[in-house]
Amino acid sequence: MDYVIKTEEIKKVYNMGAVDVHALRSANVTIAPGEFVSIMGPSGSGKSTLMHILGCLDSPSDGKYFLDGEEVSSFSKNKLAWIRNIKIGFVFQTFNLLPHLNILKNVELPLMYAGKRASLRNEIATDLLTRLGLGDRLHHKPSELSGGQRQRVAIARAVVNNPAIILADEPTGNLDSQSGNDILSIFKELHQEKNTIIMVTHDKNIAKIADRIIMIKDGEVVDGDITN
């Protein structure tokens, strides 16, 4: 079976002094290329931890994680940085743009860490932001844009290196419903362009736009880990 993400018995234990907190007990997730998947669960269910592990921001205490054919759990920190740069694009609830850089520079950031030269960076980022309707705002700071526009910048930054997967953590959480819908339609477009998208949300209505919903509860995947 073809997959872009496959986790085997992933566990994450945080040691909080005397007690061990099991954020993830046993998470098995398989995601095929080009899939649009929502991860749903109540707060404290471990969905954020799972997303951090899938995004290589955090490593599992136990279990195996295959990303794009590679077992990444044992990778060095530099290799993980490279994976976050090239294979993963993050979209956060709070946008997480650098406030003192203009949006063009923000979108160029992953290209810079990928070692692309300045003129190429500028070209790619300008092109992408123009396609997302921000062509006239390139030199604006994030604070000069609306929430929906900021999230579009964040999406541009996430996809600028053509990652294998796009990870979105409550991408509409800080937006009004109109802007939220705009963002969701961008995700749908990205999905139609054969991008793999994983979206964490607690909102059932938003989760529904995905091909499939993975339910997580108390650190375990309880429903939906089936590939169509």
Partner: protein, 409 residues
């Protein structure tokens, strides 16, 4: 995969510019430190240059003097002066010396016809004119044959000539000194200091020289019976480089003449200059460390600010890590920022230091010398401070956990 140095510098510059006020406040310590390095080093350099000038005026670096060592142990009560015979012996042992002179003195009335005056007379070798850079501008000075023949000749001081001869030509005339006839062969050049050269009655500190006459040292001993007790010899080597070897040789000679007792000091201007250079180097090093204290304080301020900056920018670090920055990229970003702050501080310090040196030096009429080396030193030291005090905050920044950094509010 790595981001290049230029990128890092660009980021550093952005950071610097975004936090202009903070950056400027941070560099004050560095500015003061580099400024004081420049000011102190150029003052010491100026002092050195003054000293070297002074030494050159005093006969140059090739000059060697032999004189009495008052502190010497002399249990056998050996003579603490040289006899004329010993002087001639020493002279014959150092043919490589370019200049050799020793003096004895006589005070006496000079008589010409009806005119009488009093003159101090120096018994000298022909090299006297080279040692003192002073010679006859009428007639001639003493020559070697005057020495060998103990000729009855005299070179008059300018004032003495005026008093004895007035406006008449004295050359070839005979003056009487202590009952002996001396032929005038020359008149020494008029010496004066200040602008009132033509006025003979003004206060001229060099007037005593114009009242000095010179005769061959041998004449003074053989004809006038003046005691040949010579306590100072002036010698000049061909060059400053030759002076040290010649000085060592002379030291051996005078030790041999006094059974190994160091009754005489042999001092070479070259060695003195080297000693002076060494002590001024010590001076420089000590002052350098004193001014480094403010650089260290500046460095601690920078470390403090950088730590605060790392704290404040935790989320930014998290974002950068999330989009693919390696730990080394983060490390470099903060380190370069710290170095840039100190480098800019160093440049401002050098500029203010140089202008202080120029203006204050001119105002105080002190010689100051700014050279490129010390500008390099000041800049390298300031960059070094940024490097050293930036490392710890940069390591702290690069070791942040991405997940925690992203959660940081």
């Amino acid at each position: 995969m790595a981001i290049s140095l230029t990128e890092s510098i660009q980021i550093g510059f952005q950071d610097f510019w975004t936090r202009k006020l903070r950056s400027l406040v941070t560099i004050v310590g560095i500015v003061l430190g580099t400024m004081s390095i420049i000011v102190i080093l150029s003052l010491v350099n100026g002092m050195n240059e003054e000293t070297m000038k002074w030494m050159t005026e005093r006969g140059g670096l090739a000059k060697i003097t032999i004189s009495n060592n008052w502190e010497a142990k002399n249990p056998l009560n050996l003579p603490n002066y040289f006899s004329y015979k010993e002087i001639l012996l020493i002279k014959s042992l150092v043919p490589e010396a370019e200049v050799f002179n020793a003096n004895i003195y006589l005070r006496s009335n000079f008589k010409y016809g009806e005119n009488t005056t009093f003159s101090r007379t120096i018994g000298a070798f022909p090299d006297y004119e080279l040692v003192e850079e002073w010679t006859a501008d009428r007639g001639r000075f003493i020559k070697n044959f005057d020495i060998t023949e103990s000729s009855n000749v005299i070179v008059l001081g300018n004032t003495i000539k005026e008093e004895l001869f007035g406006s008449k030509n004295p050359i070839g005339k005979t003056v009487t000194v202590r009952g002996q006839q001396l032929q005038v062969i020359g008149v020494m050049k008029y010496r004066f200091i200040g602008n009132s050269g033509s006025n003979l009655f003004s206060d001229n500190p060099f007037e005593y020289m114009n009242r000095t006459s010179i005769m061959p040292i041998s004449t003074m001993i053989n004809k006038f019976g003046q005691r040949d007790a010579i306590d100072e010899i002036t010698i000049r080597a061909k060059s400053a480089e030759d002076a040290v070897a010649l000085k060592n040789k002379l030291e051996d000679i005078v030790l041999n003449l006094r059974r190994g007792y160091g009754i005489f000091n042999v001092v070479s201007a070259q060695e003195e200059a080297e000693k002076m250079k060494q002590s001024s180097m010590m001076f420089k090093i000590i002052f350098f460390f004193i001014s480094s204290i403010s650089l260290i304080v500046g460095g601690i301020v920078i470390m403090n600010i950088m730590l605060a900056s790392v704290q404040e920018r935790t989320r930014e670090i998290g974002i950068r890590l999330a989009v693919g920055a390696r730990r080394f990229d983060i490390f470099l970003q903060f380190l370069i920022q710290s170095i840039m702050i100190t480098f800019v501080g160093g440049i401002i310090g050098v500029l203010t230091g140089v202008s202080i040196v120029k203006h204050v030096g001119a105002f105080l009429n002190t010689n100051t010398v700014v050279d490129v080396t010390m500008i390099y030193i000041a800049l390298i030291v300031s960059v070094g401070v940024g490097l050293i005090f930036g490392i710890f905050p940069s390591i702290k920044a690069s070791n942040l956990d991405p997940v925690e950094a992203l959660r940081y509010e």
